[in-house]
C-alpha cells in the first residue's frame, strides 16, 4: 500500500447548545459530537474534506491512538501522507453521527432531562439531521464550504444529502457504493435485523441500560444477517466454500461449516461493542433516506438543487447497493448537465469492497481528487 498512515491521532469533543430541529419533528435541545481531524486547514480554509461514516462506523477514520496502537481507523488505508486523501494536502474531518455509540450524543449517553441514558427516548434521526449537525461542526471549525464531502454506503448518502441541502457549502462529492434510496429488499433486511433486537428479552423496550443488561443475542443476529449482505456470494464461496471446521459432519447445531464460524465470530465481536439502540436508529436512517421525496420522487429535480462535482463509484459484486443504484444517481446528475464521473469497480468483496485498498479503486479517487480546485 503506497503512502503512510497518519499515525497517532486523538479525538475531540464539541458541545452544541443550540437546539436541533429534527426531520421527525422532534427537537434535540443540545448535543455533543466527537470528531477527529487529520492534516491542517489551509489559510483559505478551502482544503477541508468531510468523511462520513456508514452504519457501524464512527469518527475514528484514520491513524491510531497513542495508547491503543491496534485501534486503527476504519478507512486508514485511504488517508495519510501520499495516500488518496493526502494529509499533506487536505484537512480531513471524521465525525461520529448523532445517535451513534462512540461518544456523540445518542441512546447510550445521558439524557440531561432524566439523568438516565436516553435509551428508547432518543429521537430517531434522519440523514438530513446528521447533515445539519455536521454543518454546525463545520461552522465551529471555520469551514464555510467543504472541498469534498464523501463516504461509502450510508456515508455516501450523507454526501448526496449535503449536495442538495447545502449546495453552497460543498464543492465536490464522492459517493461510493450508495443508492438514492433503499429498495424494498434493503428495507426488508433491515427490518429482520431490527426484529432480532426488538424481540430479544434483554431489550426492555430500549431501556436495557437500567436493567444492567444488553440485547446481545438480537444484536448478534442482526449483525450476522447484515454481514451476509455485505459480502458477495463468490467471495463467501472462495473464502469458506463448504469447508467443515472438523472435517466431517457432526449432525448437530454446533459450528460445523467455516462460514458459520465466521459469521458467529463477527456477530459476537460486534454485539460486544456496539449499542443495539444505535443499530436500530442507523437502520431506520437508512430506510428513511430518500432525498427525492421532497420532489415527489423526481431524483432529477432533487439533483438540480446540487451544484457540486461528483465522483460516483460502485462495485460489480455489491448486491446490497448494486451498480444500477449508483447509476440512478449518475443519470439524475447527467440530466442536469452536472460534472460527474462514474467508475464501476470490479472487486470481489461485495458491498464491503469500499473499504478495501485496491490499486485501481484508490487510483480513481486519487486521480479525481488531484483535479479538484482547492
Amino acid at each position: 500500500m503506497p503512502g503512510q498512515s497518519v499515525g497517532v491521532v486523538h479525538s475531540q469533543r464539541a458541545h452544541f447548545a443550540q437546539p436541533l430541529a429534527l426531520r421527525s419533528g422532534g427537537v434535540l435541545p443540545a448535543y455533543d459530537l466527537v470528531y477527529e481531524t487529520y492534516g491542517a486547514l489551509n489559510a483559505a480554509k478551502s482544503n477541508a474534506i468531510l468523511v462520513c461514516h456508514a452504519l457501524s462506523g464512527h469518527h475514528h477514520v484514520a491513524g491510531h491512538y497513542a495508547d491503543q496502537p491496534g485501534n486503527i481507523g476504519w478507512w486508514d488505508n485511504l488517508i495519510g501522507p501520499g495516500r488518496p486523501l493526502d494529509t499533506d494536502r487536505y484537512f480531513i474531518v471524521g465525525v461520529n453521527n448523532l445517535g451513534g455509540c462512540h461518544g456523540s450524543t445518542g441512546p447510550s449517553t445521558l439524557n440531561p432531562a432524566s439523568g438516565k441514558p436516553w435509551g428508547a427516548d432518543f429521537p430517531l434521526v434522519a440523514v438530513v439531521d446528521w447533515v445539519h449537525a455536521q454543518a454546525r461542526l463545520a461552522d465551529l471549525l471555520g469551514i464555510d464550504a467543504w472541498a469534498v464531502v464523501m463516504g461509502g454506503s450510508l456515508g455516501g448518502m450523507q454526501a448526496l444529502r449535503w449536495s442538495v441541502t447545502y449546495p453552497e457549502r460543498i464543492r465536490n462529492a464522492i459517493v461510493i457504493a450508495a443508492a438514492p434510496k433503499l429498495s424494498a429488499q434493503n428495507i426488508a433486511f433491515n427490518d429482520v435485523a431490527r426484529q432480532a433486537i426488538l424481540t430479544d428479552p434483554d431489550f426492555h423496550g430500549g431501556h436495557y441500560y437500567e436493567h444492567h443488561t444488553r440485547p446481545t443475542r438480537g444484536l448478534r443476529l442482526a449483525r450476522m444477517l447484515g454481514h451476509i449482505t455485505y459480502l458477495s456470494d463468490d467471495q463467501m464461496g472462495e473464502k469458506f466454500g463448504r469447508e467443515l471446521k472438523n472435517g466431517s459432519f457432526t449432525f448437530d447445531f454446533d459450528v460445523e461449516f467455516e462460514v458459520e464460524s465466521y459469521l458467529r465470530y463477527q456477530g459476537d465481536k460486534f454485539a460486544g461493542i456496539f449499542d443495539a439502540n444505535t443499530y436500530l436508529l442507523m437502520t431506520k436512517a437508512l430506510d428513511y433516506f430518500d432525498p427525492a421525496r421532497m420532489d415527489d420522487g423526481d431524483l432529477t429535480a432533487t439533483m438540480a438543487r446540487s451544484t457540486a462535482n461528483f465522483l460516483i463509484a460502485s462495485f460489480t459484486t455489491d448486491w446490497r447497493f448494486t451498480p444500477a443504484r449508483s447509476k440512478e444517481i449518475v443519470a439524475a446528475l447527467l440530466a442536469n448537465g452536472r460534472n460527474v464521473s462514474y467508475a464501476e469497480i470490479d472487486l470481489n468483496f461485495g458491498h464491503d469492497s469500499f473499504l478495501m485498498a485496491d490499486a485501481h479503486y484508490h487510483g480513481v479517487i486519487d486521480a479525481w481528487l488531484r483535479n479538484i480546485t482547492l
Binding site: L334, A335, I345
Partner: protein, 207 residues
Amino acid sequence: MTPIMTTIQNRPDFDVIAGWIEPGHKVLDLGCGDGSLLKHLIDSRGVRGWGVEIDDANILAAIKNGINIIQGNLEKGLEVFADQAFDHVVLSRTLQTVRHTEGILLEMLRVGREAVVSFPNFAYWKNLRSVLDGRMPVSEDLPYQWYDSPNVRFFTLLDFEALCQQMGLIIRERSVLDEHGQTVDNDDERDLNFLGSLAVYRLTQQR
C-alpha cells in the same frame, strides 16, 4: 490488444470533428479512451464534455485528464443518458468494435441532436491490396493484427451510407481522409471509397 496512441497528432479526425462543434456545446464521446478528443474540444472549442468508456485503464486515464467519464458498455445502450441531452454524440473510430451497429446509432441520435461517427474504411486501396496479397490489412487506421483486433464489424464507406439510408438517417456532412490525415476529394463515390482510409460523418435523424 495493443493500445493505440491517442495523441492529437495522429488523430486527424479530431480536427474535422472539432470543426463541426460549436463553442459551448454539450458533447458526449462514446468509447472516449483517455479523453484526448474531449480534452481537445474543451481546450479548443470550449465545449462541455462527458465520455463513456468500458476499460478500467482508460477510466483512470480520463479522470487524470480531468474529463467527466462514465464507465459503461456501449453494447448495452446509453440508459444513463436522457433523450436529446447533448448537442453532439461522438463515436470516434469505435463503430467497427460495436456488435449492435444499428442499436448504437439509434441510441446516439436518441441522446443527442447530432451524431458524429468516424471509422476506418475497409475498402481503402491499401487494405484491398493487402487482402489481394493474401493478408489482412494492418495500417495507421487499422493498427491491429487479425488475432488481437477489437474490431468485429468490417465495412466500407458505401456500406455505411447504405445503412444510413436504410435507417432513415440523414448525412449532414462527410469528410474522407487518407492515411496521412489529408482530405480526399473526389466526385466519384466509388473512387472516394477506394481512396479514403478514414471516414467522418455528421448524422441527424428526421424528427
